[in-house]
Amino acid sequence: MQYSNELKVGAAIILAALAAFAGIRFFQNVPLFGSSYALYAEFDDANGLVSGNPVRMKGVKVGSVERVRLDPKTQTVRVQLKLERGPTIPEGSRASVSGISALGGVHVSIAPGPRDNPPISPGSTLPSLESSSSLGRLTDQAPALASKADSVLRNTSATMATLNRLISRPDSDLRQTLTALRGMTNDLEEVTEAEKATIRRLLQNLEAVSGDLRAFTGENGDSLDVAVRRLNQSLGRLNRGLSSFEKTSATLDTITTKLNNGTGTAGRLLNDPSLYMKLDSAATRTNTLLEDFRQDPGRYLEDLTLVKVF
Amino acid sequence: MIEVRNISKSFGDLQVLSDVSLDVNEGEKLAIIGRSGSGKSVLMKHIVGLLKPDSGHVYVDDQDLCCVPYERLRELRKRFGVLFQGGALFDSLSSFENIAFPLRYFSSLSESEIEARVQECLDLVNLSDVGAKNPSELSGGMRKRVALARAISMEPAYILYDEPTSGLDPETSNTINDLINHLASELKVTSVIITHDMHSVLEVADRVAFLYRQDLEWVGPVAEIHDCANPNLNSFVRASEYKIGDSSTATSLSEPSP
């Protein structure tokens, strides 16, 4: 069959254009007709990273580096990543630059976050693995901590209510002891109510501001790191305190139940020094902790100058 | 009407034409004769503006070829049919396509009309069945005739023939001469015939121009060619006579055709 020249030429040009298009997409490593999305990452040091370098997650290539730019304001390296649609990157993932540039093996590696986290949304910024390690861990723990504190405090409230009811009964021999206890628990309740909000706000803020925090890591990374570690410790302490308070509350619960049921007497309670001691010391410890926290929450965050940001 | 006014032309050191003036009147058949290398073909190329004179002017229908814009020159050229000495057939095209070439570009004829016209032209030059052949498959004389067919295919007002009968046998020469006469009488074509062939001159020409060296030495009606005072023309004519003198056609030279 004889084809006209026009047809031959037209077909050749179109084929060439298609081949060029496909070839370019191929070498840009973009799936031919699928799409990709962008993520950003920030590093202190690009380590010779250039556009085209691969992005790997657990050693598997998931995308490529699109652009590397030094942010003149923050002096951090901002890297645009182009990721394939296929493998999802969970929220809480972190990026780092690995490999040695002289050997051409430089790449961005992504340490995936917890598996259950929802996939990260396109356009967001992956925190760097090194610079935000302590803060990052803190941020990760924050929600858990918050909910824990919440449940403990709710528990406490309930216990207090029961205690209150018990104490208001005038025929009780325990009245004297328990009046003192009431004084303390009122205090406790007050504190916990107040602190509940504070802690919550604090933790929420922590989450929200962690991004801003990261911006400062360039300048005072070391001191911040220390600060954050301390904050972490403080929160750990609070956590421990809360859990011991939880335990105490549980004990209180038991006592109250017994008292309620009438199965035990005040004498038995008073004759059981170990129980009393336990209650006392737990209550005292909790009290001191909360008192302490109420009076000077800043102490727990003392080195965290950024608290002013909140 | 073609007017050549005082044109001179040289190629490097070689002066080919000097101060040549010549008129070609509407409807006439002018023969330009002269020895080989006397500048006949060069003169012809000036008439269609392929060469620019060093000095002087060429007017075609009162327009100076040296000064008209190129687009206008192209329009003027479309009034011409030119038979080149070497034929100048497009060797990448078949004979048919060669003849159809100007028709395709400059006429509004349909494909079937073009076909008919090409066949008509081939018939006129006695080559009815070579349409499919390439120029390289043709003899020299056939090529010339295909070129002639191409020159006349657009029915031009002026036809310039550069040696239309050279290389042809006497019989075919006569066919060509008849064709030239036919085109002139039927279509009122103005013809310029460059030739060495005195027989042809006497057959077709109304007037004769004689180029010698760089000069146009003599111009006059064909009847006066034998009793002119120009010694060079005389020897040129005599040379032809001598050549043909032995043959039976010698007598025809002494009685010029009307």
Binding site: V9, A16, G52, G104 | R77, F84
Partner: protein, 250 residues
């Protein structure tokens, strides 16, 4: 003496005017439409096999030699891919194609037009009322400009393809190693510059050949001279243009 010194300038001026006239007749392109496609087929499509052949060999040789030169344990093999692919896209694919076409297309055009000149075919075109410059030169130059990029794509695809294939068959470089290296250093600028070069080379080869052919003088020897000069000048100016584009765009 002065005359021979001025000759290149005169030639350049003559060339520029001729090509200018060719492009000035672009308004008549409809008239030369058919001719344009004939030239596109002759210059472009008919050249695909020879360009592909040259590209195949240069791609294979480049891969083998790069691999040979980088044979140290410290350099990852992917580097071979990151050298071979951009080299072909940026330089080798287009320059090798350019040289091949300077010979094939340039010589052909010069011989064709030269023969037409000495056998008065160009005069015959003119006398018919055609613009011979527009009719003969414009389609060829346009065909060169349009089809050289097509041939460049062919050259790249075949060159890189054979490069990959050679590494695979030779067993010294796997397909994915090559591709990873090639992708790692891929920049859109590389094929873009190659494309610009191919357009420039297409123009250079065809316009020089047209100039040489159109102004051929003196019979068969003249045609021979024009043909040779067209091929040689095209190659020289391809190198010059290659350098210029590289200096301007890199």
């Amino acid at each position: 003496m002065l005359d021979s010194l001025l000759a290149p300038f005169r030639a350049l001026g003559q060339y520029a005017i001729l090509i200018g006239r060719a492009f000035a007749s672009v308004n008549e392109i409809r008239m030369y439409w058919k001719n344009l496609f004939i030239q596109m087929v002759r210059i472009g499509i008919d050249s695909v096999p020879i360009v592909a052949l040259a590209a195949a060999f240069s791609g294979a040789v480049l891969t083998v030699q790069t691999a040979y030169q980088l044979e140290t344990p410290f350099i990852p093999k992917t580097i071979i891919g990151s050298i071979v692919a951009p080299s072909i896209m940026l330089e080798l694919g287009v320059v090798v194609a350019g040289f091949i076409l300077a010979g094939r297309v340039g010589a052909r055009i010069a011989a064709e037009l030269g023969t037409m000149r000495v056998s008065e075919q160009i005069d015959a075109l003119e006398v018919m009322g055609l613009n011979s410059v527009g009719f003969l030169i414009l389609p060829r130059v346009l065909a060169g400009i349009v089809m050289f990029p097509v041939l460049y794509v062919v050259s790249c695809v075949v060159g890189i393809g054979t490069g990959i294939f050679t590494g695979h068959i030779g067993g010294f470089l796997s397909v994915s190693e090559f591709l990873e290296g090639a992708r790692q250093f891929f920049q859109l600028l590389d094929p873009f510059i190659g494309f610009i070069k191919s357009v420039a080379f297409g123009f250079i080869v065809t316009s020089i050949a047209c100039y040489k052919g159109y102004y051929t003088g003196g019979g068969a020897v003249g045609v021979g001279d024009s043909t040779t000069q067209a091929a040689v000048l095209s190659c020289v100016f391809i190198l010059v243009a290659d350098l210029l584009v590289a200096m301007l765009l890199l």
